[in-house]
Symmetry: C2
Subunit: 337 residues, 2 copies
């Protein structure tokens, strides 16, 4: 359990990565009560300097001994690092808030989107997981719809941006794009195939079922966050040649009838959601609009007549911000409340 204090010693694992970097910015913007910042990273980044609250903090190399006196440890460096080091942080007395996939499906670890199931924070045993970015987006939009009309089934096609695969994936998208426009050979290091001007319908490893880990994680994650295992969820997740923000088409079936106008009204007053939906003025959410935004943007809300009580929605989330860094910081805010 976290001991309540005025200010906390906060570690950020993966401080020089896309999410870690954003997280330090979010901690500053939101005035999180940080007594001391401990930026941790791999050997490559050791000694780098990070600005936070008009002070310069030196990046330390992550080790099992890094967490002495740490109150809250944000993990943003991927599942492998979380699996290797989270236990050390917990044993040292820290509460871990993990943005990787390492613990998302662990029944002992609460999977939290504060606006949706913030109360779950109190049930942690040292680790709290932040869901996959698109799960966060879907839960914010679907929870209020679920409470009004009960969501029975979700069919989602998710287009994930390069930032979801880290800084090096973003560089690879840029480098391959430049190479192709100059009629040169491309290099592949992060993606299994060319990502520039292409779509790769496979994110993370395949499971026995034929779905990928990413698809399974979104399916199971949304049920965990919405606390309803009866919802049917089908997901296809695709790498798109976009730098930032995940977008996707959601087709849902509800138990009760819900008109597009009612859905718009419910979502207009939902926490963390912006309805961005006016066909007459060509307004619908796109990745380039949502980058840097705290909210989930939803548009293209319309009836689907092919099924009873069908509804289409189109959601875009900044996967780095609310999809990772901001949600983790909000979990910490819930924790220190």
């Amino acid at each position: 359990m976290l001991k309540k204090k005025d200010k906390y010693k906060v570690a950020v694992v993966g401080a020089t990565g896309a999410v870690g970097n954003e997280m330090i910015g979010v901690l500053e913007e939101r005035g999180f009560p940080v007594l001391e910042l401990l930026p941790l990273a791999s050997r490559e980044s050791e000694g780098e300097k990070i600005e936070f609250r008009e002070r310069t903090w030196t990046v330390r190399r992550l080790s099992k001994d890094s967490f002495r006196d740490v109150d809250i440890a944000f993990f943003t460096a991927g599942a492998e690092q979380s699996r290797e080091f989270a236990t050390s942080a917990v044993l040292a007395g820290a509460v871990v808030i993990d943005s990787s996939s390492a613990f998302r499906l662990d029944p002992k670890v609460p999977l939290v989107v504060p606006e949706v199931n913030g109360g779950m924070v109190s049930q942690h045993s040292g680790i709290i997981a932040s869901p996959d970015p698109y799960t966060i987006g879907m839960s914010l939009v679907l929870k209020p719809i679920h409470m009004r009309a009960r969501v029975r089934r979700i069919v989602a096609t998710v287009l994930e941006s390069a930032s979801g695969s880290g800084k090096k994936a973003m560089e690879e998208l840029a480098d391959q794009t430049v190479a192709l426009l100059n009629f040169k050979e491309i290099e592949k290091k992060i993606y299994p195939h060319q990502i520039a001007f292409n779509c790769i319908p496979r994110i993370e490893a395949f499971e026995q079922t034929g779905s990928t880990k990413e698809e399974a994680e979104i399916s199971r994650g949304i049920r965990r966050v919405m606390q309803d295992e009866s919802i049917g969820v089908a997901v296809t997740a695709v790498h798109a040649p976009v730098f930032r923000c995940h977008s996707g088409a959601l087709n849902i079936e509800t138990e009760e009838n819900l008109s597009p106008n009612e859905a718009r009204a419910i979502l207009s007053s939902a926490r963390g959601v912006i309805v961005f939906d006016d066909p007459s003025r060509d307004i619908y959410p796109m990745p380039i609009d949502v980058a840097g935004k705290d909210e989930i943007y939803v548009g293209r809300i319309r009836a689907d007549e092919s099924v009873r009580n069908g509804l289409w929605l189109w959601l875009v989330i900044d996967n780095i911000r609310k999809g990772s860094a901001l949600n983790a910081v909000q979990i910490a805010e819930e924790l220190v409340k």
Copy 2:
């Protein structure tokens, strides 16, 4: 009706566009019995030269008088041109094969994918329409599944490439990409918003229902081609920053149970379809692989447990080739058979 001859006078309207250009190539490759080629285009392209069967043909300016003695007139220049000039071609005695959206939903005009409903060709009254590219892809894959297991509902999210919006859209994607990588302002002429490194969830105008014309056309087109109005169809269509090939995730429900393995077996012997589906070797179709291919590529075939008899598929079609030029030429082949 087309008078049977050994060789035909063939007009190609939009001969200098992406589809027209591909079509002339396809006519040559497949040895279509062309007596005389009449490349037609707008004033801008008048006088340009086109190579066909080791001869040079001069592009003429399209007018209502262009079609004298023409037997078959391919229209590839968009709906507006088709609406303005197709009747003149029919009155001059030609059979029009139209690749635009102008007549696709006209009940008097057969909408034909030769492998699926080639017999409909004989029912024309001067005009035969070639479906929207993704409708062609879906029909080739879903018809054999429908015949075995009856498709009840289709939920499709389609990612359309720039070539679907013409040569100038492809140039705009390239130009905007270069501008962004050089930190310059982008220019927008064809797309309503930035397309480079972005996704635009709106193709063609919005209808009253909140769906776009493109979405409605795919929904209605697939039922027309599969000749079954009882199939429920829900579509979201999105502009993706890809040059060539439309891809998309298809979620279907069938009346009879169909395992992924059975679906793979059925599709492996389906005409015009290639099963490209081996997760263990990271094989699934992508736009860059399918460009220039005659067949529809299908992969990611897997069960969807969220509904009775659910199945996911991922289809990629070269929208310019089988999606437009090749399908139109195959319609002509059916016609002269």
